[in-house]
């Protein structure tokens, strides 16, 4: 069974960076352009993200996600370029449409900001095994129960999907229509969803009991089967990241 994840198992430097440092990196990538709202800062962020994705050998894997985001951003560029409230200076014509400078640059800023944040998240998501991330957070003080909930979702979704496929095959073989006009398709929704939902809700009782009798609510101090992974240059990277934030604040205050 394949667990649900975008994680790419590679052996690169980025893969060996502490997950907490990747989280701090995302925080810095979001916050620094807010402190210093300048185009060059955003562009520097995007270049940095791209370099890291390339080092991690996952740049290609990130492209489909960027494609999806870019599609939405294209509509932002069109609508804002045409209708932004502060539009005054014409920039260029595209057939009968007149694009304005103010709206166009506003949309460009949004585009860069979104790409920057998405790219920073992609570094975390593509290079960190979800179970490692959750286990790290639990070691750092996240409630082990919430940790359990996060970990189990990755496996429960594929489980439920395969149950649903079994059920929809069965319903179809009994002659249920899943194609046709909207009304037919709406009518198919509940009979397909209902059994999976009912089944998985009823199973929660026995699963909860099974967890309880394995000490899930134990007040003892939890230990871990896996040893802490050997992450690289953790202190140095963390120090550097905070230094970048400090530099941005000083720049803002001084200039």
């Amino acid at each position: 069974m394949k667990a649900l994840t975008l994680y790419e198992d590679r052996n690169t430097f980025i893969h060996h960076v502490h997950p907490i440092n990747k989280l701090i990196y995302i925080f810095i990538i979001i916050v620094v352009p807010l402190i210093l709202p300048l185009f060059p800062v955003l562009i520097a962020g995007i270049i940095m993200n791209t370099v890291l994705l390339l080092i991690a050998n996952v740049f290609k894997k990130s492209l489909p996600i960027f494609g999806f985001v870019l599609l939405i951003l294209l509509t932002v560029l069109i609508i804002q370029g045409l209708f932004h409230a502060e539009n005054a200076t014409p920039l260029f014509h595209l057939g009968p449409l007149l694009f304005y400078k103010e709206g166009f640059f506003y949309a460009l800023q949004i585009t860069l900001r979104v790409l920057n944040i998405v790219a920073a998240f992609m570094i975390l998501v593509l290079t960190t095994k979800p179970s490692d991330l959750v286990e790290t957070l639990v070691r750092k003080g996240l409630s082990p129960k919430i940790g359990y909930v996060l970990q189990s979702v990755f496996q429960i979704i594929p489980q439920m999907l395969s149950t649903m496929e079994t059920i929809s095959d069965a319903q179809r073989s009994r002659g249920m229509e899943t194609e046709g006009n909207l009304f037919v398709r709406i009518k198919a929704f509940l009979p397909l969803l209902g059994p999976v939902v009912l089944n998985s809700l009823i199973q929660t009782r026995e699963r909860a009991m099974a967890l309880e009798v394995r000490g899930f609510s134990s007040l003892r101090h939890k230990t871990f089967l896996n040893e802490v992974k050997n992450y690289r240059y953790t202190t140095f990277i963390q120090f550097t990241l905070w230094l970048v934030l400090l530099a941005a604040i000083i720049w803002r205050v001084v200039l």
């Binding site: 609508i79 045409l82 649903m164 969803l193 939902v197 998985s200 929660t204 967890l211």
Partner: protein, 200 residues
């Protein structure tokens, strides 16, 4: 006697509800897209978690749902975790106050949840996308209103309103239909009061 709706001592039974809620959200979303329905229907699990486990479990299901989506499919989901959280919260409070006892009340809950989504998502849409939702019809309306009025907040609010309210209303009604069909001893499981009566 129910336990307080804000009880933070979450029972194991209600915690186990959360991953299932996230799974149901995902199944609903997948089915809606397989059947090419013009709705998202991606919050049925969160609504069921709110109805069964109350506002805290509902809110946690919503937030965790988006964290998981963010980690596995679409990083943008993280941002809208706040919307999901509030939707779960509102549905849970209304459920606790007895608003899921009939179809007519369920319609009110659906509209309330839809409006919650609009109120929370609009500022997010404006600060993140400049006001759009990414939904074709909603964004067409956005463009139209922007062209006519230049009022970003108004245009964005309408964009979100036409997209979210019908979707959330149907979502809540579907969830209510399922909720009605659940066995009583299961519903009982999530609202245990932590008191053991003595038979001695």
């Amino acid at each position: 006697m129910n336990k307080s709706m804000w009880s933070f001592r979450l029972s194991t039974a209600s915690l186990v509800l959360i991953p299932v809620a996230v799974g149901i959200n995902y199944i609903g979303k997948t089915l809606a897209s397989v059947l090419k329905l013009p709705l998202w229907l991606d919050a049925i699990g969160t609504m069921l978690a709110s109805m069964l486990g109350g506002p805290i479990i509902g809110a946690l299901s919503g937030a965790i749902n988006n964290v998981i989506y963010g980690l596995t499919m679409d990083p943008i989901s993280f941002i809208y975790g706040i919307t999901s959280l509030f939707m779960g919260l509102v549905a849970g409070i209304l459920a606790y106050k007895g608003w899921i006892s009939s179809w007519s009340k369920a319609i009110i809950v659906g509209i309330a949840v839809g409006l919650t989504a609009v109120v929370i998502s609009t500022p997010l849409n404006i600060s993140f996308w400049g006001g759009q939702t990414g939904n074709l019809w909603g964004d067409a309306l956005f463009a139209l209103v922007m062209a006519k009025t230049k009022l970003v907040w108004f245009a964005s609010f309408l964009d979100e309103l036409v997209v979210d309210v019908p979707d959330k209303l149907i979502t809540v009604l579907i969830s209510y239909a399922i909720f009605r069909g659940l066995p009583n001893n299961l519903k009982q499981l999530y609202k245990s009061n932590n008191k053991i009566e003595s038979l001695d």
